[in-house]
Subunit: 478 residues, 2 copies
């Protein structure tokens, strides 16, 4: 596929130059002393907290960006490398709330919910990675991250994306990973966690905890990437071009730090860029401008020859209504044909604040459509079928042709949820909407293959290491 | 914008060559004697009903295709020319059924419904053209088309797309148009109807009535275009490449006929191509493959330098649920960034069989997003806002900048229906979905600007010319 491009190559170059100018003249406010030291040691000027970047420094390190990024899974058959395996479909993550699958009422999310979601994502074929969808309100003090990671590991063998708070939290998480892998060395041979942070906060600031974590994982040679989150009108200019220029400067600064820590460290040009709705200040991750910004950032990533991705295909709706559908669908399609490699897309409603089981199942079907588009149009002489066209002739039918029968299950996505019945059949089946069908699928999945994916021995070791750890059990959905 | 392309240029050329081969060796079965005569007189070979096309004939006439097509409106401020004004957003049309806006129950559509829909489309800013959305079950015998056209003209000043049955029906329609325009000459100076037919039926057949109408309008110099409708697995090969090859042959044959009738006749490379769901034989106008085929046909249209369009962004759902949203959104976005000029998209559910008022209003919002994407990223030094970025600096805010205030209503689509409220606000407002908000908008529009757009004098002339004509009155929506 030749990707859709909203920017000309001259404009891409201009955004690169503008970012260099911003980094040289304004630079970043870096609130973490060791990061400032790294910058200083590698050619940046540092004055108080302000770090400024000579263009030659940015140019030197951007030649070191790795051209690919691998998401490892506990079961290596789920490993994915971008851009080769793109689009890689990931759950959107870290929502504080959830729509309770039994009552349908919104409430705080807990660790038991994460177990259910992990199982669901493990079973749904459209998803390639589980970025832990919610927080866990019931996490014991000092077990913030392991209370989320444990249920995820217990029910999902796909790559898991996770974030942490302070360094102690990070070390606890790694301890858990080492136990599950059978030791630190075994883990590091196939690191099934992908670490994610937002160290650079728009506009142009780098925080302490996230920067510390990014530096730690980059120096350890473990998979980590940052997301850049400018919000036009609030934390970047109320213009897509200005938001791209500032966001690009923020990406370059962060990626440069990672290369300074360890040359050749793989990273992702990942973004969650939006244009604020200034009528209310609303965060519009469902707006079409969010999709457009991501298409443009994908062009910048190609300019740097680095894989890209981000939060696109989200919705502001509180329900699985038509709005949730078209907001997800339009930006997801834009990102797909715009050449994005990774999509943090699945399962969240209400502008990333709430997980919904039905939405996750519906997004799985959307994901399969995105993959169909990327797979493209198969094109050889057999596909062209000229002999068949000649043979069938004017007014004939292709329905019984061998060519048809051989391809009827592969040429098109065999949808599971989308209603394609005649109206009479649909009425007989209960006149249901896709929300109803999606919740039925959720319940079916929750009732099958529910064996935990951690052995009793591992369970025992984890409980010994982390006393008071959450149960992480699957709750039945009646 | 640089458009997304699913085919390489070599593949486009191969499809062109394949179409020439099909037209030379198989040709078309043409069931209308005068069409066969035209083909014979202009270099085709005709044997019984079979017309075969030497490649030189196709190549000669394709150089005559006009590079643009104009949709005239009764009010010239609504005139649109593609590709210049693309995307031109049109209602999808000719559904036999409607969701009753008062009861919510599906029933046969009538002429009064068309009056309501015409008024709605006239008022909704996202729509550029009204292709009469439904049939009229209450049409008197021999008034099939004027029973649909009259309510459309009474309440809509935008370009109107219409189809007819036999030549008598066509002449009655033109008589109505002449009366409304103030005479045949006045009408022909600014022909506010766009005529549409599907003369070529897949595979490779040309019918009598539609061919007769296309020849008539082309010879009269009035705006007319055909749509090509292959359905992979049933009326074309179960492969996108084969469907493109055959569909392209069908387009070329039809366009060649139009040029033989009158050289330089404007036309549109218009399509409604689908891949059948062979599990049930379902017509899948909501499937992603429909969107992909249209993106590819748009590439073929660019190869021929002729404007393109078609039925894309439709749904198989019976409701305005998430399925209706993502099916519409994904293919609409694919078509937009794939370079389609015209979209027959708005208002229909259930695979083109049923009109729904709420869907039409929701599609209006989708249309505005499509136009935002096509408008693209504004890019000059003021957009880049480097001075502002430097001035605000790390950790600052853009919220009160003049640059922000000047652009906050133009940089992003000011959505009317999409919910962007905080959850607490949304709950206070009644926890409504977009369907509820859309029906409220329908009722608001139905209650305002309801003056008929035909003068009493014209009304009188029409009633004298067409005794027993339908009332075409707006019905109140309680």
């Amino acid at each position: 596929m030749s990707f859709a491009e909203l920017l000309t190559q001259e404009q891409v170059q201009r955004i690169h130059d503008a970012a260099l100018e911003i980094l040289e003249e304004v630079g970043l406010k870096v609130r973490y002393e060791p990061a400032r030291e790294i910058f200083a040691q590698h050619g940046c000027s540092v004055e108080d907290e302000r770090v400024k970047f000579p263009p030659a420094v940015i140019e030197k390190y951007r030649k070191m960006y790795a051209p690919s990024f691998t998401f490892h899974a506990r079961d290596p058959k789920f490993d994915k490398t971008i851009p080769r395996d793109s689009p890689v479909i990931v759950t959107a993550s870290s929502a504080p709330n959830i729509i309770d699958p039994v009552t349908g009422v919104e409430r705080r999310a807990e660790s038991g919910d994460i177990a259910q979601i992990a199982h669901l994502i493990n079973e749904l074929p459209g998803y390639d990675m589980f970025s832990i969808s919610t927080l866990a309100e019931d996490a014991p003090a000092d077990q913030f991250t392991i209370s989320r990671l444990y249920p995820a590991l217990k029910y999902c063998l796909k790559p898991i994306r996770v974030t942490t708070t302070d360094h102690k939290d990070t070390l606890a998480m790694m301890q858990m990973a080492y136990i599950v892998a059978g030791g630190e060395e075994a883990y590091k041979e196939h690191p099934f966690l992908t670490h994610h942070y937002c160290p650079t906060v728009s506009p142009l600031s780098m925080d302490k905890l996230s920067a510390e974590n990014v530096i730690y994982f980059a120096s350890e040679g473990l998979p980590v990437y940052p997301t850049i989150v400018p919000n036009a009108g609030l934390t970047s200019p109320m213009s897509m071009a200005g938001t791209l220029a500032q966001g690009n400067a923020e990406f370059l600064a962060t990626a440069t730090l990672m290369q300074m820590v360890k040359e050749g460290t793989p990273t992702i040009y990942a973004t969650l860029a939006t244009v604020a709705d200034m009528r209310s200040g609303a965060y519009t991750s469902g707006a079409i401008e969010c999709g457009m910004l991501h298409m443009a950032f994908a062009q910048l990533a190609r300019f740097y020859n680095v894989p890209c991705g981000g939060y696109v295909g989200l919705t502001n709706s509180k329900l699985n209504d038509a709005q949730a559908g078209y907001e997800t669908g339009m930006s997801a399609m834009g990102g797909t044909v715009g050449g994005m490699d990774m999509f943090n897309i699945g399962g969240l409603i209400d502008a990333l604040t709430t997980f919904d089981f039905a939405k996750a199942v519906i997004d799985d079907e959307v994901a399969q459509m995105m993959k169909r588009v990327k797979h493209g149009i198969s094109f050889n002489e057999e596909d062209l079928a000229l002999d068949l066209i000649k043979q069938v002739g004017p007014g004939g039918s292709f329905i019984v042709a061998k060519h048809t029968i051989a391809r009827m299950k592969t040429e098109a996505v065999m949808t599971k949820l989308a209603d394609r019945d005649a109206r009479t059949v649909w009425v007989k089946k209960g006149s249901t909407d896709i929300q109803t069908k999606a919740m039925k699928r959720v319940k079916d999945i929750m009732a099958s293959n529910t064996t935990p994916l951690l052995s009793p021995e591992i369970e025992e070791k984890l409980r010994a290491e982390f006393p008071g750890m959450v149960a992480g059990e699957l709750l039945p959905i009646a």
